[in-house]
């Protein structure tokens, strides 16, 4: 249980600093440190068990279907890393308290730091590689925040993004690798995976899995050629660098290599990939480090180099090399953290970390100088310090390793790496702290407050103690963790300063001697280096990224150019491709239904239809004519319905045509009357071809469908219409009963449309459009008589007739052609005529109806009718009807459907009228004329008086 707490504490505790900063920086620091101390203490409770060789385990099923279990375990390797993460983390927290400036938001800093700490602890304690992956990517994310902490610095932002792209991207590769590994073993639990070395290495998936996992690990541990992000991550505040690049972030990759070492190592491909990468990284990075003037850059490349060293050791695949690797992880963490902190102190107190501006600081800041010197000496591998011990072990192993038959290659290059390491370490000491005292430093150098030098001092103490008494201070931990890495019995080794006159000692001596020579001749060496090429990984990375963005931009914005024609061309094109390809791929036969003879009337209609379409194409630039042509086509379609014995459809179609054409005419009043020619001829050809191909396809498939017999639902409807629906007009019974729910939806569509038009025009009139309309001057020739007397009189006479027709069509609807929808349209047309004849103002005064309310009432009545059937215990919209006999009237039917149809009727009238009302609002704004109070402009009565 407490294992989970160790992982979760930093995450939960991450809230504390963000809050506690309100009481002050000390309270904030204490809160943060307490979290880490608590986690560390919990970890320490497990030390005895782990050193005995036990493995502490705890876990729950999280997503068992996937194999993602929240399992944690603590063995030697986990203990080593968790101690480093939490222990050095604590020192960093104290150090950061004194390092951060007043204007730096400390609460945020510690929050990020704790998030990162939790993620790191999570990695090293996970017993499930999917779980490990989660924490792995969390370190990428939280380090992004840490590296970009000084967000006002461009280097910080760029460094953060680069680190995220490289390490996060590596993590993505690792996801694939982990999934493959899990597939081989059948479990993602590490404790299971680690038992299946033979199974894994025999699998055909071993190589892809290995490659993918290595990409992830190398990206994280900054191995060549993915090393370039690490130096740029130095834009972070120094405590971050000290933490990320000594004990944590970059060690995650190493950790993973060590964790999976028992099952992945030992094959040839592992040896060549890992050893070679490590070796190249070690030498190349050490070489670059030698010529860096920025202290943190020097340390950054030295970190890369040392990570290469550990990687190479793990690549060797021998148990002794694994022991050396583990030991060097400890040693590197201690001296490198101390070095980063001392570099931070120099930067903080002197105001520069450029070697060219430093030198002679030993007398001015003696404590810092002492600490830095010891730590750097350990990095150089000077005897009596811990760096010497693990370097010796490395050289010893390298001496016995043969690379592709060449026994000399690895020893030579390893010695070269060691030599360069000596040179840059000594350069760090001599050119910063020794040499002549300068007259001017950016600020007056002095030793920092105790809070800043105590943490590195503690680490330097460890450097010396381990260096002098390795077996006492590091022995048990090394044994436990190496045991966990090897996963078997430990090899015979002995941690001590003196191993006799071994080849390693000789190589070490050579490295030391040559390193000193290089430093002695540094000016010449540097001049030689200056002449060589200096490939800049950052420039390359930036160019790649800028290029990727540019290409993406070009692709995206060229494709999505905002042209509706193009988008529709893709749509129609997709239809065409799907249609023709599917036809070709599926079996098909011509229909066998007997053809009907083409009556002359039908042929005339057909020709009219074609003529109408052709006219539309020819006239489409003149919108008014085009609209009239559309109306003609609609009427022919209505006639077609009549011809095919569908009177209901014909009635609906005609009334819909009339209403739409009238409304469109009103709208067209405020639109340009002509469509400009915009398409280029290429596009015309494209659109033409698409239209012809699609049209032919649609025609053909429609023909195919109509020339075959099929069974439909119609028989049931015809049969059930009267007994079940209480009506003889099947179309109407379908609309209000069989499929009344569709009608319910459709009237809502109509209602929504009206509301949306109102909302749209209302908003438009309030904004810029309204101002435009106020200033609008019509260029059209207009009738001098807005309200012609003939029209007024005619519509007035027709109104009662039309309303009566509407009522008649409504009432008969259930049994003969008609119904609420058509009746609604007819009534709406009759009303529109009044508006057209006498203007909106005059008419609105006499029609005090709230059309919003009408639409709403219609929908509610329809819904209420539907709900009414619940009372009878039937589902929504179940119809009921009864026949009654009244004297005089005779027998008649009352059906619930009539209530539903009333809802339909009201919604239709309301929606049409609401639309009209809004269009006329525009008209009134645009015409700048007084609202007419009279039915006509001319008063006939006045004329008679005269």
């Amino acid at each position: 249980m407490s294992l989970v707490l160790i992982v979760m504490l930093p995450f939960i505790g991450a809230v504390l600093p963000a809050l506690m900063i309100r009481t002050g920086r000390n309270a904030c620091t204490i809160a943060t440190a307490s979290v880490t101390i608590l986690a560390f203490a919990l970890l320490m409770t497990h030390v005895p068990a782990v050193l005995r060789g036990e493995v502490v385990q705890v876990g729950w099923d999280w997503l068992p279907g996937l194999g993602l279990n929240a399992n944690f375990f603590l063995d030697g390797l986990g203990l080593l890393f968790a101690s480093l993460i939490l222990g050095i983390g604590l020192l960093i927290i104290i150090y950061a308290r004194f390092y951060l400036a007043k204007e730096d938001p400390m609460g945020t800093f510690f929050t990020y730091l704790l998030l990162f700490q939790g993620a790191m602890v999570g990695i090293v304690l996970s017993d499930n590689i999917l779980m490990l992956l989660i924490f792995w990517e969390l370190t990428s994310l939280s380090s992004f925040l840490l590296i970009g902490y000084w967000k006002h610095l461009p280097e910080g932002r760029q460094g953060a993004r680069m680190a995220l792209a490289v390490t996060g991207g590596g993590g993505l590769a690792m996801i694939a690798g982990a999934l493959l590994l899990g597939q081989i073993v059948g479990s993602y639990d590490l404790s299971v995976i680690l038992q299946h070395k033979e199974l894994i290495q025999a699998s055909p998936l071993y190589v892809p899995a290995l490659l993918l996992i290595l990409i992830g690990a190398f990206a994280k541990s900054a191995q060549f050629p993915l090393h370039f992000w690490l130096p740029h991550a130095m834009a972070a505040p120094t405590p971050v660098s000290a933490y990320l690049h000594s004990a944590t972030m970059v060690k995650a990759g190493i950790f993973l290599l060590a964790r999976l070492w028992p099952v992945l190592a030992g094959t040839e491909i592992w040896f060549y990939l890992v050893t070679t990468t490590g070796l190249i990284t070690m030498v190349v990075a050490a070489y670059i480090a030698l010529f860096k003037d920025d202290l943190k850059a020097l340390l950054a490349y030295s970190t890369v180099s040392h990570l290469g060293l550990v990687t190479m050791l793990l690549g060797f695949g021998t148990p002794l090399a694994a022991v050396a690797a583990v030991f060097h992880i400890i040693n590197h963490a201690t001296f490198k953290a101390a070095l980063f902190m001392s570099a931070g102190i120099v930067d903080h107190e002197v105001g520069s970390r450029d070697i060219k501006h430093l030198g002679g600081l030993v007398m001015l800041m003696p404590i810092t100088a002492t600490l830095a010197t010891i730590a750097a000496a350990s990095m150089a591998g000077i005897p009596l310090l811990n760096g010497f011990l693990s370097k010796e072990m490395m050289l010893e192993e390298a001496a016995h390793t043969v690379w592709a038959g060449q026994a000399w290659l690895i020893p030579l290059l390893a010695t070269a790496g060691a030599m360069l390491s000596v040179a840059y370490s000594l350069r760090y000491i001599t050119q910063v702290f020794f040499g002549p005292v300068r007259e001017h430093y950016p600020s007056t150098p002095h030793d920092p407050p105790m809070g800043m030098w105590l943490p590195p001092a503690f680490l330097v103490g460890l450097v010396m103690l381990i260096g002098l008494f390795p077996q006492t201070f590091a022995g048990p931990l090394v044994a436990a963790s190496a045991g966990a890495v090897i996963g078997g019995p430990l090899p015979d080794y002995y941690l001590s300063i003196w191993h006799g006159l071994t080849p390693a000692l000789f190589m070490s001596a050579v490295a030391l001697g040559l390193g000193i020579v290089i430093l002695w001749r540094y000016t010449q060496v540097r001049a030689a280096w200056q002449k060589g090429p200096h490939p800049q990984a950052k420039a390359l990375f930036d160019r790649t990224l800028t290029g990727a963005v540019a290409v993406s931009s070009a692709l995206t914005y060229r494709l999505h150019n905002g042209s509706l024609q193009r988008y529709l061309a893709w749509f129609i094109g997709a239809c065409v491709v799907i249609g023709y390809v599917t036809f070709w791929l599926s079996s098909h036969e011509a229909g066998n239904r007997a053809m009907l003879p083409a009556a002359p009337v039908a042929i005339v209609g057909w020709l009219l239809l074609i003529g109408g379409c052709a006219a539309l194409m020819a006239l489409h630039r003149d919108r008014l004519l085009a609209l009239i042509t559309v109306g003609v086509i609609g009427l022919i379609v209505s006639i077609g319905f009549v011809y095919l014995s569908a009177p209901d459809l014909a009635l609906t179609q005609i009334s819909v045509e009339v209403v739409t054409v009238v409304l469109l005419l009103l709208a067209l009043n405020f639109l340009p009357k002509h469509t400009p020619a915009e398409s280029m001829s290429v596009r015309k050809v494209r659109d033409g071809v698409l239209a012809v191909v699609a049209g032919l396809g649609v025609g053909a498939i429609a023909f195919a469908a109509m020339t075959r017999d099929f069974v439909t639902l119609s028989d049931f409807y015809l049969e059930q219409s009267l007994p079940g629906g209480g009506g003889t007009n099947v179309v109407n019974v379908i609309l209000v009963d069989f499929r009344g729910f569709d009608t319910f939806g459709e009237i809502i569509v109509l209602g929504i449309a009206a509301l949306a038009i109102f909302a749209l025009l209302d908003g438009a009139l309030r904004g810029e459009v309204g101002r435009k309309l106020d200033a609008w001057v019509s260029t059209e020739q207009r009738s001098m008589n807005r309200h012609p007397m003939m029209l007024v009189v005619a519509t007035r006479v027709m109104l009662p007739l039309a309303l009566l027709v509407g009522a008649y069509i409504f009432l008969r609807g259930h049994n003969v052609p008609g119904g609420g929808f058509i009746a609604g349209l007819v009534v709406a047309i009759a009303l529109i005529m009044q508006y057209m004849a006498s203007g909106f103002g005059w008419t609105a005064k006499r029609m005090r109806v709230d059309y919003h309310g009408m639409v709403g009432a219609g929908i509610l009545i329809a819904a209420a009718t539907g709900i009414g059937s619940w009372i009878a215990g039937h589902p929504f919209l179940t119809s009921a009807f009864e026949y009654f006999t009244w004297p005089l009237v005779g027998k008649f039917e009352l059906a619930s459907a009539i209530a539903f149809d009333t809802g339909v009727f009201l919604t239709v009238v309301g929606a049409v009228m609401l639309t009209l009302a809004n269009l006329s609002r525009i008209g009134r704004r645009a015409q700048h004329q007084q609202i007419n109070e009279q039915p006509m402009d001319v008063n006939p009565l006045e004329n008679t008086k005269n």
């Binding site: 099923d61 997503l63 279907g65 996937l66 993602l68 204007e103 945020t108 989660i134 990517e137 990428s140 925040l145 970009g148 967000k151 006002h152 932002r157 995220l164 792209a165 993505l172 999934l179 963005v549 993406s552 931009s553 692709l555 995206t556 999505h560 905002g562 509706l564 988008y567 529709l568 893709w570 749509f571 094109g573 799907i578 249609g579 599917t582 036809f583 599926s586 098909h588 498939i701 075959r708 049931f716 409807y717 079940g724 569709d742 319910f744 939806g745 809502i748 569509v749 449309a753 509301l755 909302a759 749209l760 908003g763 904004g767 919003h852 009432a857 509610l860 039937h874 589902p875 179940t878």
Partner: protein
């Protein structure tokens, strides 16, 4: 008791006209009613999820007419899940909207509830023509919402949206007509029963109809090459509307899942897995086009819009595999990506409202009020959208990758999903660091103090926080959720139970 199934349609259909009629003059009243209705829908959908989790397919015969003659509503695990997702999303989006967006135009709440009605109906119906009707309801309501608050750019994008979708509707009718002409039915279950027995002579007509229908659903789901309407629409729609639209693309995905598992699944004879061959390449290309767009985007709104396209690709890849585990993964990712997209649109709105002059464009401005908090929310939103841990996107992607193991296209699927994730990470990191970190040009004096803008109220934070919390829940309870989704997928791949439930027998 059985009337519960129709309630998700009826409740908003009654509440919306009431608000339009009686409350359009009083925004407070409209807000109270609107929120109350949405809360009721959340509770109702929770109830329906419980009802559906008994494993039965529940039906509701409207007008008491038996299928296939009348319209049947069908509640199974999938439709219940969609209802719950819709209502929860709607509630949080509504909270954001009532912080101010809803009074920038007329009839917001009525249109909002009508849209919910359309969505709920589309998820419940078992009938093609009825599905068409609900598509119309949600199209016209969404158009009204899309142009809410007006503006030239928005109206232009709105026209594109409505024109392309009307073209889609026309194709819908044509395709349904073709299917009807060879099967004589509009009922999905009935169609499923008939497809295996279609004579070879009629096969081409059926298949063309079914695949054109796929194209119709692809328009809704914003699949390449019919995705063009999405970036303009989503990035220019009012923020809460864009956030609600996160579910609109899922309607397309839902319809694809429903139709092609039910009627064109394993038992469909020669028509088995008809959609797969078209859907898979389209989904893969969609993923790439979307994530390239993320890298290319010039504003946060566009970036999130393209991320939505990419996520639709990611979602439909496992759908196109047409296996139960892949479907379960797809459903998990669907829930996740809906929440993530909505949260991001709301966050982008908070940014845009505070950076008045540059809105959400990717350019630098002086610090703005509550920048740190909003940056944190954006960071979480971006984590969700790019599929990084610890939010549910990571689990969703793991599930999808895991389910694609046995596919012949496994290398393509894995490679593209992982590589495009990297593109998305880079895109979001660039945008985030530009908007939230870069507050001055190098060399210019640094302004640390933010301009204090009058900040409305806490509702937008509650809304975004709520959506993010949903993703946390989805992550923490991934086990039980996955169990429900596994059962859902299993139910989808046993269409006979659906067919029997609807048609009896």
């Amino acid at each position: 008791m059985q009337h519960w199934i129709v309630m998700p349609v009826i409740i908003p259909a009654i509440a919306a006209p009431l608000i339009a009629m009686g409350m359009r003059q009083d925004i407070v009243l409209a807000r109270v009613f609107s929120v109350a209705t949405t809360v009721a829908l959340v509770l109702l959908s929770v109830l329906l999820v419980f009802k559906a989790s008994d494993g039965h397919t529940h039906t509701y015969a409207l007008g008491n007419w038996p299928a296939p003659f009348g319209i049947t509503l069908v509640l199974d695990r999938l439709s219940a899940l969609m209802l719950l997702l819709t209502s929860v999303l709607a509630l949080f989006v509504l909270l954001h909207a009532i912080a101010g967006w809803d009074r920038r135009g007329r009839h917001f709440h009525a249109l909002f509830l009508f849209l919910l009605m359309g969505l709920n109906g589309a998820f419940l119906t078992g009938d093609f023509f009825n599905l068409f009707v609900f598509f119309e309801v949600l199209l016209i309501a969404s158009y009204g919402l899309m142009v809410h608050a007006g503006g030239a750019m928005r109206l232009k994008a709105g026209v594109q949206y409505v024109v392309i979708n009307l073209a889609g509707s026309t194709l819908f009718l044509f395709a349904v007509g073709l299917i009807y002409s060879v099967t004589g039915t509009l009922n999905m279950a009935d169609l499923a029963q008939q497809v295996p027995h279609i004579p070879p002579a009629d096969q081409a007509i059926l298949h063309i109809g079914a695949l054109l229908l796929l194209l119709v659903f692809a328009v809704k789901a914003a699949l390449v090459p019919v995705h063009f309407w999405l970036p303009g629409t989503y990035s220019l729609a009012p923020a809460p509307v864009a956030a609600l639209f996160a579910i609109m693309t899922k309607v397309g995905a839902y319809a694809i899942i429903r139709l092609y598992t039910l009627a064109f699944g394993e038992g469909a004879g020669d028509s088995a897995w008809l959609a797969a061959a078209w859907l898979m390449p389209a989904a893969l290309i969609t993923l790439v086009v979307g994530m390239i767009g993320v890298l290319a985007a010039r504003s946060l709104g566009q970036m999130v819009s393209f991320a939505v396209i990419g996520s639709m690709g990611t979602l439909l890849i496992p759908v196109a595999l047409f296996t139960a585990p892949a479907m379960s993964a797809a459903l998990y990712y669907m829930v996740h990506s809906t929440l993530a997209a909505a949260a991001l649109f709301l966050i982008v709105d908070m940014v845009a409202q505070r950076r008045k002059e540059v809105a959400d464009h990717l350019s630098l401005t002086a610090p703005f009020a509550q920048m740190g908090l909003i940056a944190g929310l954006f960071f979480l939103g971006a984590i969700a959208m790019t599929g990084m841990p610890p939010l549910s996107g990571f689990i969703g992607k793991l599930l999808i990758l895991d389910s694609a193991r046995d596919s012949t296209l496994m290398a393509w699927i894995w490679g593209l999903i992982l590589f495009t994730s990297l593109l998305a990470i880079i895109g979001f990191a660039r945008a985030g660091s530009l908007v939230f970190w870069k507050t001055h040009e190098a060399g210019q004096p640094l302004r640390r103090r933010a301009r204090r803008l009058p900040v409305g109220n806490a509702l937008p934070f509650v809304a975004t926080g709520g959506l993010l919390a949903c993703m946390v829940i989805l992550t923490a309870f991934a086990g039980p959720v996955a169990l429900y989704l596994d059962q859902t997928a299993a139910q989808l791949f046993e269409p006979t139970r659906y067919i029997h439930a609807v048609l009896g027998g």
